[in-house]
């Protein structure tokens, strides 16, 4: 009876162990997307004089844009807060100073009244200049507030002629505010200069650039971008790494964003308890024109500066980000009184990069850094090369069979010898 009970307990234990083995706790399973705030999208439309050109499927650029807007307004997902801003819509004159301020909010970012929005779009007529920089600043203001995902969709047919305010730098400054804002750009039948400017804006904010030649492309792409804003995404928390480990920000498990200029080092600190595993990964975005070869290094060191482990990556050519990561399982402490509170170890994380840029490229603000920190239970350390020290293969079978045979023979001879000894006595 007792044996049976014991057996049952053993079986239960085994089952539990199996269950644990089969379904490891999914602690890494994030805490889900950050509290659901409606995503905001601002469509920024160029209404400059050049939009009159009749070169999109035989229609004027303006007509194509209007039709696309109507289709997009019809198809906006319910949770998206949509706004519309125009540039070059009101001032038809020749005064540059005035023309370069000409941007206004056509429809405020908020719950969408489809009829109202469409009526507003219908009133537009190609008029003035192309002040992209001020329009982006205005759009960023329209989207201000909240922690939601924000997206600007810029549709234009010409480059910004309102120097010295470079729209690309404006875009990078907006992105550097850490407000989760992405700018997607669409060029209507773009020329080389427009393309360069729009790709620069997109690159600076992690957005995309599309060149539109046909009407259908325009509406489907804008719709895709608006839908993308509605996708659930985990937004990072802004942090600012220090120059050395001392005084560096203390990070918990989560997703963080920061900025780092060329050749700069940023330090962060993480507390790791014995028996925990630290997982960290870092991505540095190449948000501007950088030289062809680059690298990133993530190092975990002790508080005294001894390196524990590092992750590094290098690359060349066209890229959006360069990433690397590391794991640091801190060993369990065995000989400690159970009532002692375990003392966490402070691990310093250093993020450095070897990006460089031509002299003409501005180095501030720094490149976007995305840092993920995860703390999970430590792994079962390997005590053997093979799983559980088990063997495999024909050699194993042959060795075992041979050993068995020899053991059998020896055992047989011993017992024979013993019998004959017994008989003789």
């Amino acid at each position: 009876m007792i044996t049976r009970k014991r057996l049952a307990v053993g079986a239960c234990g085994l089952l539990a162990a199996l269950a644990v083995g089969l379904f490891p706790a999914s602690a890494t399973a994030a805490d889900g997307p950050t509290a659901k705030e409606p995503p905001k999208v601002d469509l920024v439309l160029d209404v400059s004089g050049s939009m009159r050109a009749n070169d999109i499927d035989g229609q004027s650029r303006m007509a194509a844009a209007k039709q696309a807007f109507n289709e997009v307004i019809d198809a906006v997902p319910a949770e998206v807060r949509l706004g519309i801003r125009t540039l070059g819509a009101t001032y038809p004159g020749e005064d540059r100073a005035l023309g370069c301020k000409d941007t206004k909010q056509l429809y405020p970012v908020g719950p969408l009244d489809r009829t109202e929005a469409k009526t507003a779009v219908a009133t537009l007529a190609p008029t003035g200049w192309t002040p992209i920089g001020p329009a982006l600043l205005g759009a960023a203001q329209d989207l201000e507030g909240g922690n939601a995902t924000k997206r600007i969709v810029l549709i234009t047919d010409g480059e910004d002629t309102c120097a010295p305010l470079d729209p690309c730098e404006v875009a990078r400054d907006i992105a550097a505010k850490g407000i989760h804002l992405v700018i997607d750009t669409l060029g209507l039948v773009p020329d080389a200069k427009t393309r360069a400017q729009l790709t620069c804006i997109a690159e600076a904010t992690g957005g995309t650039y599309t060149s539109v030649q046909h009407k259908a492309e325009l509406s489907s792409r804008v719709r895709q971008l608006v839908d993308r804003a509605a996708d659930p995404v985990v937004n990072p928390m802004a942090t600012e790494g220090a120059k050395q480990c001392e005084g560096a920000p203390q990070l918990k498990a989560g997703l963080y964003s920061d900025r780092e200029t060329f050749g700069e080092h940023r330090w962060y600190r993480v507390d790791v308890l014995p028996g925990q595993e630290l997982r960290a990964s870092v991505s540095i975005g190449a948000d501007r024109a950088v030289n062809n070869d680059y690298g990133v290094l993530l190092r975990a060191t002790t508080a005294h500066g001894r390196e524990i482990v590092r992750g590094s990556e290098a690359g060349d050519g066209r890229t959006d980000v360069l990433s690397t990561g590391l794991r640091y399982p801190k060993a369990e402490i065995d000989d400690v009184d159970s009532d002692d509170k375990p003392v966490p170890e402070t691990v310093c994380l250093q993020v450095s990069n070897s990006f460089s840029a031509p002299a003409s490229v501005k180095t501030t603000p720094g490149m976007p850094v995305e840092l993920t920190i995860d703390l999970v239970d430590g792994p079962d350390e390997a005590s053997d090369v093979a799983a559980f020290g088990l063997g495999r293969g024909w050699w194993l079978l042959a060795v075992l069979a041979l050993a068995g045979l020899l053991a059998g023979l020896v055992w047989g001879w011993i017992s024979r010898w013993r019998i004959s000894v017994w008989r003789t006595n």
Partner: protein
């Protein structure tokens, strides 16, 4: 003597049969494709269907499972991201096909690249496959593929070995004429996994797979959950070896016994 002989012979035969059966079980386990690979698209739930959009960063990567075909419309120059779960002892091959813009809109050849990163965003090596391919000016499609190393259940902290968890796929054009940026392309990505069995069954396991907190979709883990990495056909091999050794022992013992009576009375 004869009886023992027959017994031993039959035992040996049984052992051999068992061994064969053992390996058969082993290979059967090894050959079984991951259940997700056989999941019929019709039977899949709506939430589990393959994505028709791609993400544009690690954070927004679209999740799919091996066996599914993820598609996306994009502009050339976009960085497209997908994420899929790969479990221990699986060897994954990621394939991508890009349908290029119509040839008359393009100005020259382009080069496309497929990169795979693990759950810690570390780049993973492709053991074979065309990871980077050039498309001629008049080509209609580009095909890329990347076969990863076999995923191991555990590795020491200094190693870059592939571990069970999320794997990010990044597809992008790395070289093209400036004028061709932003043209519409279509991309399709699929992955197949092959169970390699116990050959790569290593000791030590992660407590949790390397799934980044940003991957929140339901497709972030294999259909039947993570294996936990304890099973491998090494158990079968070792057990079969034990049985064989026991039988060989009996056989060896019987050889020394003769007919059961000492010959010298």
């Amino acid at each position: 003597m004869r009886r023992v002989g027959t017994l031993t012979a039959s035992l040996l035969a049984a052992a051999a049969a068992l061994t064969v059966a053992g390996t058969a079980v082993g290979t059967a386990v090894a050959d079984t494709p991951s259940p997700s690979a056989t999941a019929s698209p019709g039977g899949a739930k709506a939430a589990e269907s393959a994505p028709t959009e791609a993400g544009t960063s690690f954070r927004t990567a679209a999740a799919f499972r091996p066996g599914q075909k993820a598609t996306a419309g994009a502009s050339s120059g976009d960085y497209l991201y997908w994420v899929l779960p790969i479990d221990a002892q699986q060897r994954a091959t990621v394939k991508a096909a890009v349908t290029l813009p119509e040839a008359k809109a393009r100005h020259g050849a382009s080069t496309w690249q497929l990169d795979v990163y693990d759950g810690l965003r570390r780049r993973q090596a492709c053991t074979y496959g065309t990871q980077t391919a050039a498309a001629a000016k008049d080509a209609a499609t580009v095909e890329l593929s990347c076969t990863l190393r076999t995923v191991r259940a555990g590795a020491d902290q200094w190693a870059n070995d592939p571990l069970p968890g999320s794997y990010y796929v990044r597809l992008t054009v790395v070289d093209l004429p400036e004028e061709d940026l932003g043209l519409p392309v279509r991309a399709a990505v699929e992955a197949e996994v092959k169970e390699t069995g116990g050959i790569q069954a290593v000791d030590g396991t992660l407590s949790t797979p390397l799934v980044a907190g940003t991957v929140t979709a339901t497709l972030r883990e294999p259909e039947d959950g993570w294996s936990g990495g304890w099973w491998s056909d090494r158990w079968v091999w070792t057990a079969a070896g034990g049985v064989l050794a026991a039988l060989a022992g009996v056989f060896g013992y019987s050889l020394t016994r003769g007919s059961g009576r000492p010959s010298r009375a």
